[in-house]
Symmetry: D2
Subunit: 435 residues, 4 copies
């Protein structure tokens, strides 16, 4: 996470100020809940809320205390006592640091995910808009980078939409994975704190109670969470790579918007480069790099060890901030993408109709030739076209085996691109629910 | 995937024979569906089914053909034509290899997942049984590897149960991710095959239709699938590491079953080592190693490239076979685990009651001391115990600040281990729905 | 590792037969060395060698014994005793299984690396040959996939040569990392075996003595080894991706050899796809997937645990077999690559001389314009060319600011492609030591 | 990289100020070198150096320009022109941004590595000191976490020393990998800049010339670099895990220094936790997480794409800063580690002499029993000890088969721990060159 690839909306979730505010909320709600248990006097709870609710926690002061006690939560509690006064001794009753830290981390992840879901909706909207705009913009489909058969630019985008729509659902699942709260005390036995406190705090913080926390919210949840971010990042990479391909000089079917005043190269003033999508390719690698450490975090020793903590202090902000930035950047790329339908058409026509080879193959088998003979007949004529010797239709008509099975008119009929588009509506309806 | 870490139930899903059988089913169902379209004569479909249904596909013959045509599906189709005869020309009408390959891969993954889910149920049953057996077997909870407060061996297992129960749900989600079928033809436009064919084949094979496949089922699905296996593997590692810790010579609270005739070390006949759980630790690393390549597979070029194929030919079998083996091995470890409650008790008592330090701390704050003073008082007495200078309770009673707040009887009261177990039923009910 | 992507030369290194042969050699050499120590009688050593040297170890029999004793080395020793007779009791004196297993694993890795180095020499030779063949074959250099300035196809290959030459040196370093031998007994203290035995066995097996092995050869060595394979794989991917790009329909500057009888697509007979290099892209992902588990293997517990073993049983063969296959496949791709110089020239000329924009920029600054003004002048004329409005040189001549600094003749002079090739010899001399 | 886990010495290498200073040096040296070529007037070079050498580059101003031109190097050059004046037009002659960026990145990595090497020397010194201090401090060696045979705490540390000494050499190799300079212009053809400029700048910056850069220094170098950091991190993890094990309550053979005023747990005042080494375990995961993205960066498109850039802006600082911090933290842990030799002895004696089982086994084989019979005899007596039924030596003496081969005196002789330490000097001499 570096400012260059960050948005304030996401980084603010991870600021020390946000963290200490959440810590206070957790502690204060726990105190409220313990009034009923007789552990905390009502007046103490009132004082805690009254003095702490709008307090500005002094990050430097907390850091200073931590340097002595070498424990961040104790440092915070000590500072809180400076603000709240003697009633502070009722704070953190029966709790352990992990109750605060783990619940806070999950609150931050939930907030981060909510923002990612907002981003995703924007991206989906942008893709949908461009997909309908180019629903019937014909373009050559490519397998292995080689011309195959026609498709439309809208179908390309419909695929992206369907993929990010799955990603959205995955994010929703991932949010549920980590939306839990633990206020279960040392080793998670509730020995010194009633389970009802956890339930109360969970409800107040918009979380579910962790069924069994052993002083730590189990990290399989977070492994699943960061793995999901890694999948989303990989989908971003896919669309980014598509744009990079389309912008290649020889292809130039689409192009990132190039703003006035922008410079493509310090040396070569003629350049317009797909730098945003190249950048997204790199950002995807960064988000994915959180997956393995998150999985290595799962096997904590016994009831808990703290090896996960340093990892999460980094990948928590890094992965969410970078993914947020990437989703917004991709949305901008899609919204502003310059599309060149005429180049798409021109590229498609470069192979002189070879993209209809399958239709000819199928017609030959329907006309009675074996699959193998049909294949050979089509392939030998196609290879002549590859070698630049002439036109595909002409070769087919001149081929004895082909022409004994198909008339010239039948052959001509097969070179109609509209044939390939007849199910665009079907696909759009499947993806968007409308066409 | 090596025989040493494989079970036949899983490897058979990935055998060439199984694969060709699935290929046939897909092709034959597609032929049936195309009768209605008038693309395939009813009699041809009948012949295909009649001759192919129980055919033994000759793997060597197919390999031989592939060496010439360098294309596996074409090799299969050629061999199928040798079996079916002239009607074979109606096979694969309007389809592309990917329709067969991708749908088959997903069928195999679905079968593999069903087996993994069976495994998971066995593991859950084994854990549950041992959890109830040791519901109140008291043992010290450890954070950072250091004695903290008492818990029970049953709670340790309840945690594992809850974690694997989540893993089960994740596997169910992962199964849904990859349970899709694509019969959409070249570039996925349905130009030469009606969408109803896909729907029919999907239904016959127990799959959903892929909303938009561009000659390839999008690999974000598989990335999510293998990421999920990686999370499950990490949870296996966690429980394996727990057992390894418990079996350490100095701890010896539990031990893998050591069979008669088994040898622990070629050099040292006295050894009994936790080799199964060490092995599981390694297997977890292997399953996890599939995650990154699966994510790198997502960003295929344009409508499809084939870079994912070699990866999946390996990680498909490797990750599922290894995970299946690991789940069954872990189940055996849990079922046969030798538990030593008396060692648990003895270990717990080694620190002379220090594990009650929090109770004393809380009592002091309740008695009116500040949190900071209470902490100091408890800590200074605890450190004497660490230094081996005597008993915790005695030091507390002798401490002026403590004894001014708490009576000797109150202090004695705090050294009752049952105190820590009062919410075991709550936790069990949360996890198992019963206690 | 699957047969599809394996060569027998490499898989045979990892066969059970090879392994048991190496185990015997280690044991027998150790016995020989212990004659001097008086631990093993000369006659016993003679019998061990005489009966074991050419013995065919029965893999099934060893497996059968292992199923009982659950220990592979003990199973082997038991079988060896069946072959050698009573003198077998002098085998494995003072040794531990790890002495055999770890030394054997390193012997196998050394053999594997020697084969990889042979492969690398073949690849380097193939690249060098094609590089000289195309030393001055002009082609457009591309940054960001966008035309930049001319280079030669030979320089592209020189880069690949330099990269694989570095990879060769890395493999040599990696070989040294793992070419060590441990015969240090339980916990590695040499308590029951003299250090001279290790030195003798090391020398006989072509290895160095491990300075301090704690019953395990430290796995940082293997982490470095597999990390190195991961880097080599990544370099393979780079060249593979280059070929895939060059073969794209719109680019078609080079093409994988397409053999007679080969079929590119089951549906579309016209297709010729870069399937070998796509395959190499996938294989690179597989080789890389060994890196993280190898690193996770480093932190073994205390003097050793066996969690690394299952990992290495898989990644040892998998990574070396796959990399060997990939290097040979890439060599074939390079040797047989069909190069189209005329397409390279045609592509280069598509942007109407824009690739000389830097020369114009530099000339303007030399003529006294500021860098910023020069840049603007060149960029504004270049953008007209991008928009398809005409020729670059013509626009420059018509531009008032440009023409006030440069004469038409000077401008014309800048559109000479030979200008870009003047240092090809320098680069070739740097890379190949000759030009 | 977060302040919590950073040292100023390393972060300052990555500050914008340091970066711009290096950029200036590269540009200015290149200008100097081009005086000879007649490209830059001597006076211009003089002015550039005079005005730029001690200039404070205004980071905010540069950022402001970049927001417009969307190109960082151009933004810097524009700002430089504001400082240098009209002579600035001679800056960057014939160069491309990558010349500056890639060379700068390598300069930063070299500086970072030099600091890491300093750290490593400190760590090695600390380990060596403690190793000699505890050269003969006897402790039980453990395989699989189970008592095996005695070793010394010094040998444990000697192993760590040997491992980090290898890591030092790897860092030296890694430094060489990335200590290269490219000043080769667009596409790396030297079309507009003489190769001698690169040689001059390389020499001034303490680098080697990159033999063939295609506008980008090839990223296999950086992949190898970050892979090496990953291996070093894994070795840190190994020693950290060792300390964590030794500090476990039941083992307590060594302990991280616990400072006065430190608090182990907010809830349990008695706790002293190995938080530094747990933290190091996590930091190792973070450093390792840079390895895969660095490898994914290798396969850039054609002559270059910029997908590596965002990755390196993050992993460059992150991995080096975190590794630097981890090395220093580990050094502190080693220097201040509290070692408890008496606990080591007490733990070793817990198994009543079982750790001598191999000696008895070997003696029995030497006395004429077969290896298998000897093993059975020792194992059956050892298992009684595990079951807590009595003393190992006594059982052996009472065993008919054993006592028929060995006298009681011979058996007693085998329970001498000094036996295991006889080669400590050998090992120390191998590792440290002295004993």
């Amino acid at each position: 996470m570096i400012p260059r690839y960050s948005r304030e909306q996401m980084t603010s979730i991870w600021s020390p100020e946000s963290k200490f505010k959440i810590w206070f909320d957790i502690e204060a709600h726990a105190a409220s809940a313990q009034v009923k248990q007789g552990v905390v006097p009502q007046e103490a709870a009132d004082v805690i809320w009254a003095k702490g609710k709008d307090a500005q926690f002094n990050v430097e002061r907390i850091d200073e205390i931590e340097r002595e006690v070498k424990h961040d939560v104790i440092a915070f509690l000590t500072h809180l006592a400076e603000i709240v006064g003697p009633e502070a001794r009722f704070v953190h009753q029966g709790m352990t640091s992990s109750d605060v830290l783990d619940t806070c981390f999950n609150v931050q992840l939930v907030k981060a995910t909510d923002l990612l879901l907002e981003d995703m909706d924007k991206l989906l909207a942008a893709i949908k808009k461009r997909a309908f705009e180019h629903k019937t913009t014909i373009t050559i489909g490519r397998s292995h980078g080689i011309h195959a058969e026609p498709t439309t630019f809208g179908i390309k985008l419909a695929q992206a939409y369907a993929e990010f729509d799955r990603c959205k659902q995955r994010l929703i699942n991932a949010r549920e994975e980590i939306a839990t709260c633990a206020i279960s005390g040392a080793i998670g036995t509730f020995a010194n704190i009633d389970p009802s406190v956890e339930e109360y705090v969970a409800e107040q913080m918009g979380l579910a109670s962790e069924p069994v926390s052993t002083q730590v919210i189990p990290r399989d949840r977070h492994a699943m969470y960061f793995a999901t971010l890694g999948v989303v990042a990989s989908s971003i990479e896919r669309l980014a790579v598509e744009v990079r391909h389309l912008q290649r000089t020889e292809v130039l079917e689409a192009e990132e918007f190039f703003s006035k005043g922008q410079k493509g190269s310090s040396a070569m003033p003629h350049k317009r480069n797909p730098i945003l999508t190249e950048n997204l390719t790199g950002l995807a690698r960064i988000v994915r790099s959180a997956v393995t450490p998150a999985m290595e975090n799962v096997a904590l020793w016994h009831e808990r060890d703290i090896s996960h903590s340093s990892v999460e202090r980094m990948i928590g902000p890094d992965a969410t901030v970078t993914l947020d930035f990437a989703l917004i950047r991709l949305t901008n790329v899609v919204e502003n993408l310059v599309v060149y339908p005429e180049n798409m058409k021109a590229n498609m026509d470069k192979l002189g109709g070879l993209h209809n080879s399958q239709r000819v193959l199928l017609a030959l088998t329907q006309a009675g030739l074996s699959r193998e003979d049909s294949y050979s007949a089509v392939q030998r004529n196609a290879m002549k076209v590859w070698r630049g010797e002439g036109e595909f239709a002409a070769f087919l008509k001149a081929d004895e085996e082909v022409s004994s099975a198909l008339t010239d008119a039948q052959i001509d009929d097969m070179f109609d691109d509209a044939y390939h588009l007849k199910h665009v509506d079907t696909i759009f309806t499947r993806v968007f629910g409308e066409a």
